[in-house]
Amino acid sequence: MQHSVTQDNYDGDATTRRRLLRLFFRNRGAVIGLLVLFCWIVIALFAPFFSPFNPIEIDFIGRVGPSWEHPFGTDRLGRDLLSRVFFGARISLLLGVISVAIGLVSGTLLGLVAGYYGGRVETVIMRFVDALLAFPGILLALIVIAVLGPGLGNVMIAVGISTIPEYARLARSKVLSVKELPYIEAVKGLGSAGGRIMFRHILPNISGPLIVLSTLQVGNAILVGSGLSFLGMGAQPPTPEWGLMTAEGRNFLNRAWWISTFPGLAILSAVMAMNLIGDGLREALDPRMKLDV
């Protein structure tokens, strides 16, 4: 297999960091992505402040189209869609971030240990990871949901678990290429403990690709969450999760297009933003970075 080895210490000195920032901000797409994400974060933080209505309050007027009172219209149960999309930003962004954190932490740990210690430890961990990887696509998340039951929290766990193998493999392959560096050998020679070496010296050296993968994964997690909502195994009502709102509104696409379209566009914009940022980061760190190993 090919490994493109990047020897920069990403956590390195201030000049490197400044160079990275300059490269990132020169990328027009990345800047747009960052702006969009910034907007969504602000909306998420101040959702109660921006929202004209209570997002879960039902109005027995039923579904009405966009108007001054309800700029995005109301859904089937008369709930204000603008408010729901705003509050949904909290939930959907959180869904993305938390599930990625779960996958990132556990996957990286597995990959670090496997790559650093090698031998039997590595074989056991990587066989297990390979087995997880053999559940293609959304399947692993579905099985986890089946055991835990649907609900926002469980969706986060399920999506998180389903990304573990990717992180583990990426982390391991990067560890393998970093482990042999003279610097690490030297630290080892000085008699540092394994854990210290892994976290203090190796982890910073492999963090670049992990950060890029995580940025892209946040968007992906939001999409997987919406797929689970579509299958009825995602967030539960009346949670204003974007995927659930898009899925709930889909049966009205021909007569009340707004119910599904606005949350759908919210997903589209947020996921696009994450992808743009991820691409920008990758370009800045190392255009040849490989994430699939």
Binding site: D130, A131, P136, G137, I143, S226, G227, M272
Partner: protein, 310 residues
């Protein structure tokens, strides 16, 4: 090459054993009794406890777990994946019955991914930093950022309900395959085009391409003979991965377009707690997936003469 292939195949065996252990234990963690649902339906009539007991006995669900797993495992090795609780047919038969539909859809999805992704990515690379580049990349960005079911339903509304060019749903014929294939393949098309673009750009910087250029070869010849073949290598990997994802990831597409397939089969089996069927289908999908990856790795070696496997 031969020894490499053999080694890879033997490596698959522990993976598949772990997969079956995971699925088996997970399915037995699930709440609910499938026989009850099978007999009474979600809203059927009353069924006596004796009848449930009889059925559990007939289906071997009263055996100890290790024995059930042993039976499953011994059967699986011989190609017998047990009997579905809900369908009352052999799992192997059901899986093989649905597999052609999934395969057809995945292949069509893959074709869409290549037919859209490769030209789009190549164009973007050649016309780097022009509006064509921006347009192609924006399109592929939308492709990877949209909920699949939403895309599918929009397609149905526009092309089937309003324009009436294509059938809304169904499993028969090429016409019925167009929209599902597009829905399924669009995400992959986006990934492929981005990958082609970046790896073409990378290859075009390589020394040997520059050498070829300096030798007076025209742009097109360079592109076709040198750059393209090398740029394809990472694409092969992603295609392999995408194909594996499509096999199981078609759940949503299959549901939207009311098509039979393995994805829907396994989702419904999970919901109905039909564990022989879940075990069998997941195992089958896992085998397919690892085999596809194996083929990818081998073709990798074939495409890139620099790589040698012992």
């Amino acid at each position: 090459m031969f020894t490499y292939t053999v080694r890879r195949i033997t490596e698959l065996i522990p993976v598949l054993i772990i997969v079956s252990v995971i699925v088996f234990s997970v399915m037995h963690l699930l709440p609910g009794d499938p026989t009850e649902l099978m007999l009474a339906g979600a809203e059927g009539g009353a069924v006596s406890a004796e009848r449930l007991e009889e059925l559990r006995e007939v289906m071997g669900l009263n055996d100890p777990l290790y024995q059930q797993f042993g039976n499953f495992f011994v059967g699986a090795v011989q190609g017998d994946l047990g009997t579905s609780i809900r369908f009352r047919s052999p799992v192997t038969e059901i899986v093989l019955d649905r597999f052609p539909y999934t395969l057809r859809l995945s292949l069509a999805g893959l074709a869409v991914a290549m037919l859209i992704g490769v030209p789009l990515g190549t164009l973007a690379a050649i016309k780097r930093n022009t509006w064509l580049d921006s347009f192609s990349m924006a399109l592929s960005l939308i492709g990877v950022s949209m909920p699949i079911f939403w895309l599918g339903l929009l397609l149905i509304l526009v092309f089937a309900i309003n324009l009436r060019w294509l059938p809304t749903t169904g499993a028969g014929g090429v016409k019925a395959l167009i929209m599902p294939a597009f829905t399924l393949g669009f995400v992959s098309a986006a990934l492929v085009s981005r990958l082609i673009r970046s790896s073409l750009l990378e290859v075009l910087q390589e020394d040997y391409v520059r050498t070829a250029r300096s030798k007076g070869l025209t742009g097109r010849a360079v592109l076709v003979h040198h750059a393209f073949k090398n740029a394809l290598i990472p694409v092969v990997t992603i295609i392999g991965l995408q194909f594996g994802h499509m096999l199981a990831g078609a759940v949503v597409t299959e549901t939207v377009f009311s098509r039979p397939g393995l994805g829907r089969l396994v989702v419904n089996a999970i919901l109905w707690k039909d564990f022989p069927l879940v075990q069998g289908t997941v195992l089958f999908l896992a085998i397919m997936y690892v085999l596809v990856n194996l083929i990818v790795d081998i073709s990798y070696a074939w495409l890139d003469p620099r790589i040698h496997y012992g």
